[in-house]
């Protein structure tokens, strides 16, 4: 499926389009299908997202898993500082990232 990601303009936080707004959790991401460009243009112009783009992802039992390793690291946080990651207490990176 196609999901949207970008950064919050003021804070720089990585965000994911959840259908209504921008969430910090990749698992809230929704399939935008052919609407990607239209949504990004509108949200960028309204300053609700910065530098947004579309990526491929798959829905799994645990949630949403971006298809490319770079996007998975972007969703998770640096693999070498798991204390900064999405869920610092419970992350098993080898399975999810690699």
């Amino acid at each position: 499926m196609k999901i949207l990601t970008g950064n919050d303009l003021k804070s720089g936080d990585v965000v994911w389009w959840d259908g209504h707004g921008w969430s910090r959790d990749v698992n809230d991401a929704v399939d935008v299908g052919a609407q990607a460009e239209a949504i990004l243009a509108r949200e960028d112009a309204a300053l609700r997202v910065n530098a947004g783009y579309a990526i491929e992802a798959a829905r799994t039992a645990e949630g949403v898993r971006p298809s490319h390793i770079k996007d998975r690291i972007r969703a998770l946080g640096p693999t070498v500082r798991l204390d900064f990651s999405l869920k610092p207490a419970e992350t098993d990176i080898s399975g999810w990232v690699l």
Partner: protein, 544 residues
């Protein structure tokens, strides 16, 4: 070290206000991201994989304890309690908020620091020798010349939109400790036969996609014509550097494509036009700057002998300190490569500790090296043991300078949106594989450099062992290469063959060290053995 006068301070303060206005215009939507991006890059602000990243300039790698302390405080106040020292002697913060950036720059300005031109298509931080002012083999301290170039290049109105980034390095010894020949312009301060001081210009070096060693463009430019000559070099580049292809836009491509002789001809023509225009700062200005780099009040009659009875201290002493030009002193390298650690990272507490140690024990000065370590340049031999004890207690006492675990690694795919593969975990695993310090010392000088993409911020082309991370169909893969050198015997590493998985490249690297141990001659480093026996024996062992 250099201290701002009111002119310098006013310029930095003006830049903060300019950027504050630009941020406000971005937040209001008056500027689009495409319009804002070049402006924020010229203030060192990137949008990276996880957040905004701010690259703070540390001019020619020199800073005071007050400045280092501020870097630690900023890490706590605005970031997540740590920073990353880079291969261009700068510092990076990884978790910056755009709306706070003007305040961060204002805080930096209170201690004569900034993030000016640390990114963007302009002249970047000017790097230098981390042992400047302390090394016995330097002709003069290169840093006054670097400071002169820094001021000349700051907010230079003609060179603010170059084809691409532009990096200078300035050294003043035949021993090249700054990878000078791998810069866009590398300058060695030299003396001519009449004993006059001047600048030897190398132009067109660099790493990245197409690594090149800079040819000499001019053997001798008199010191008081150096700025005019640099102006000529930059003007030819600004006019004729390629702008059609981002990957062919560096000056090394121009020099390579038109040839060094033609580039030199054009520079000389421009220089002949520029010299009479009176752009050169006067001798009094160079003298004024030099006065800040006079010897910092060394004591005399100090004890030379050092008590080596603590074996761990003795190992650190032998590995991490070198002779100082002044009797009774030593030059200390603080390793930011602890076993299994993240190369070049320091916590805010570690930064403040290093600041205190520099204040108390190194005449208030520190250096950042391009290999991501910190130098205390002026430590009394009598203070080395108590210094080491404090460093060791803080995890800063690893005795691995230039050993296999003293790895250069770029931030890689863990942090960088340009990367294809992670470099830090690889560095950590190599460090763990070779954790035995006796084994490391037996291997001796072995410079491992890891880049997570072709941009080569990890300087892998200049590694005795260089590793490049690539993306192979969505999986991280690593190319191994041998025989690079950043020193005066500059060479570019040669690739071994097909790439490896992360574990595979560590095994291959280990096999290479075994070949070295089996084949080495007397006094040969890994690099020397490789240069003597060639790639074939290594390739055979690795690929079978």
């Amino acid at each position: 070290m250099y201290q701002y006068d009111h002119y310098d301070q006013a310029m930095v303060d003006a830049r903060v206000e300019e950027f504050r206005g630009q941020v406000a215009r971005r937040l209001s939507g008056e500027l689009t991201e495409d319009q804002f991006k070049p402006l924020r890059l010229k203030n060192g602000l990137y949008l990276q994989l996880h957040a905004y990243m701010l690259r703070v300039a540390i001019p020619y790698g020199t800073l005071s304890s007050r400045q280092m302390r501020m870097l630690g405080d900023i890490a706590d106040k605005y970031d997540r309690g740590y920073g990353h020292f880079t291969t261009r002697q700068n510092l990076q913060y990884n978790w910056i908020k755009l709306e706070q950036t003007p305040d961060i720059l204002a805080d930096l300005a209170t201690v004569e620091m900034h993030a000016i031109q640390t990114s963007g298509n302009c002249i970047r931080n000017i790097s230098s020798d981390q042992y400047a002012g302390a090394a016995a083999d330097e002709l003069v301290d290169p840093r006054p010349y670097a400071e002169l170039l820094r001021q000349w290049s700051s907010f230079h109105p003609e060179f603010d939109y170059l084809p691409r980034k532009f990096k200078f390095a300035v050294i003043a010894s035949d021993t090249d400790r700054a990878a000078m020949r791998l810069h866009d312009i590398g300058i060695q301060i030299v003396a001519n036969k009449a004993g006059e001081i001047g600048a030897k210009f190398h132009v067109g070096g660099g790493m990245g996609r197409t690594p090149m060693i800079a040819p000499v463009i001019r053997d001798f430019v008199p010191a008081l014509q150096m700025i005019s000559y640099a102006e000529a070099c930059l003007r030819v580049y600004n006019r004729y550097g390629r702008r059609d292809n981002k990957y062919k836009a560096r000056i090394k491509i121009l020099v390579h494509e038109i040839g060094a002789d033609e580039y030199r001809r054009q520079v000389e023509e421009e220089f002949a036009h520029i010299l009479p225009l009176g752009l050169e700062p006067p001798a009094a200005e160079l003298a004024r700057i030099k006065s800040f780099f006079a010897d910092p009040g060394f004591e005399t009659g100090l004890p030379e002998t050092i008590d080596r009875s603590d074996p761990d201290f003795a190992l650190w002493l032998d590995q991490n300190t070198v002779a100082h030009k002044q009797p009774g002193y030593a030059v200390v390298t603080i390793s930011l490569k602890p076993a299994g650690g993240i190369p070049g990272d320091a916590s805010a507490d570690q930064m403040r500790l290093m600041a205190d140690l520099a204040h108390d024990l190194s005449l208030d000065e520190l250096r950042v090296t391009h290999t991501q370590n910190i130098v205390l340049p002026h430590v009394k031999k009598a203070d080395l043991y108590p210094l080491w004890q404090k460093l060791d207690a803080a995890g800063l006492g690893t005795a691995n300078l230039d050993l296999i675990s003293d790895i250069i690694a770029c931030p890689g795919l863990d942090y960088c949106s340009l990367a294809n593969a992670r470099s830090i975990p690889l560095a950590q695993k190599i460090s763990a594989r070779f954790a035995d310090m006796d084994r490391q010392r037996d291997l001796g000088e072995l410079k491992v450099k890891i880049s997570g993409c072709i941009n080569a911020c990890g300087h892998h082309h200049a590694g005795h062992i260089g590793i490049l991370g690539v993306d192979r169909k969505g999986t991280e893969n690593y190319q191994l290469s041998f025989g690079g050198s950043e020193a005066a015997d500059t060479s570019l590493a040669q690739i071994t063959g097909p790439g490896f998985s992360e574990d595979g490249v560590i095994d291959a690297l280990e096999k290479a060290t075994e070949i070295y141990l089996a084949q080495r001659g007397d006094g040969e480093r890994f690099l020397d053995t490789y240069r003597r026996i060639g790639m074939a024996p290594f390739k055979e062992a690795i690929y079978g």
